[in-house]
Amino acid sequence: MDRYAVGNDAAFAELYDLLAPRLFAFLMRQTGHRARAEDLVQQTFLQMHCARHTYVTGADVLPWAFAIARRLLIDSYRRGKREVLVDTLDPPAVDEGAPDDALRRKQAAQVIQRTLDSLPETQRTAFMLIKYDGLTFAQAAEALGTTVTAVKLRAHRCYEALRGAVGDDVAEKGGAP
């Protein structure tokens, strides 16, 4: 990003290849809609391009990119563009050899998704940035505009909620929590 910020336009393709898969995965999880995620990835890169002169020398590009993507996502929701989303995610690869296991895994995934949806956006995003997108606590804190301690707390609360929900669900079905 440093090379790109000083005018080396060829560096953008490298930057894209480095960041696009991670941004797309993040936005796909947040929207559950391939076309919207692709559009937001495009918008994120355009914003980075237009604001390249504001990029601080030596700064970590990952929190910046994720912060832009998140802001655009929030902006798109605020503008009332939230549609009835059709889940276009590819079905997860499941070992067909064990139907009971597959069913349990599917049920657990549904419980996790429901629980995540019920949590505040700040907790959910902190958890996802760390667990799914591989950001460090410091990077996630920077992307969310908060402190490392606050991010740890949010992710921990989210984790506890998930553990409680999955445990309760298993207990309701007669299994060990």
């Binding site: 336009d9 990835v41 237009c50 504001t54 929190p63 920077e142 992307a143 505009g145």
Partner: protein, 241 residues
């Protein structure tokens, strides 16, 4: 994974949309901030310049102005300069700057009350006006230069910028104004800093936030392309829709 076609589309968009480099940005910032910093100077000299505060001992005036300078450096270190982060400081730090800058301004001035024979107290409308003109110009410059670039909490970022701009104006006002009594410090000095913080928050919440580029089909341009925004260098050949 994103498709190759998406990659090509983005690279085409980027190629068609020249953007400022860091060097362009620095030159532009120096010009705009430099001009804004001088906005209050005509008022300073029109209302008596250095002679207006001559009733206060010079060493006290220098100390008070240096204290105000330290306040603005502390504020700018958090709110203005991003240090090693492209995103900026945490929201809590920005909020603290917006809240503490007016308080620090007030406390620092009142601290010097009774250390010298002060002239008769006045309400402080001219101090207020000078702060609003000088600080307002700096705030306007900051909002203009950072338009659509703040990615986390633009409202709070705007408030912190406003408070810092007000603190910046205080350096000049403290050289000019010989009064440090409580009522005057509150109305003439602390209040306009707080007002600039509020204005920065209100305006910043609207102008600093990044927004998605609007698809051209909604604006009658060629389908698929995105609107052109102010992201290019100020070269002569740049086209604008």
């Amino acid at each position: 994974m994103t498709r190759d076609s998406i990659r090509d589309a983005i690279l085409l968009e980027i190629a068609a949309r020249p953007a400022r480099t860091r060097r362009d940005g620095r030159r532009r910032s120096a010009l705009i901030y430099g001009s804004a910093a001088l906005a209050g100077v005509p008022l300073f000299f029109a209302w008596g310049g250095f002679g207006h505060g001559a009733t206060r001992p010079l060493d006290l005036t220098i100390r008070i102005a240096l204290g105000a300078l330290l306040i603005v450096i502390a504020c700018a270190d958090v709110a203005w300069w991003r240090n090693r982060s492209a995103v900026g400081p945490p929201t809590a730090a920005l909020l603290a700057i917006a809240a503490l800058a007016p308080l620090a301004t007030y406390a620092w001035l009142v601290l010097w009350h009774n250390h010298y024979a002060a002239p008769p107290a006045r309400i402080g409308f001219r101090c207020m006006a000078m702060t609003l003109v000088s600080g307002g110009a700096m705030l306007g410059a900051a909002l203009h230069l950072r338009k659509r670039t703040v990615v986390v909490d633009p409202l709070v970022a705007g408030a912190a910028l406003g408070a810092t701009a007000g603190a910046f104006a205080q350096v000049m006002v403290d050289i000019w104004c010989p009064l440090t009594n409580g009522e005057h410090a509150l109305v003439g000095h602390a209040f306009p800093v707080a007002a600039l913080a509020i204005a920065g928050g209100l305006i910043g919440g609207r102008v600093l936030t990044i927004r998605a580029f609007v698809r051209s089909e909604t604006r009658g341009r060629s389908p698929g392309s995105l609107e052109r925004l102010d992201c290019g260098p100020p070269d002569k050949g740049r086209s604008r829709d």
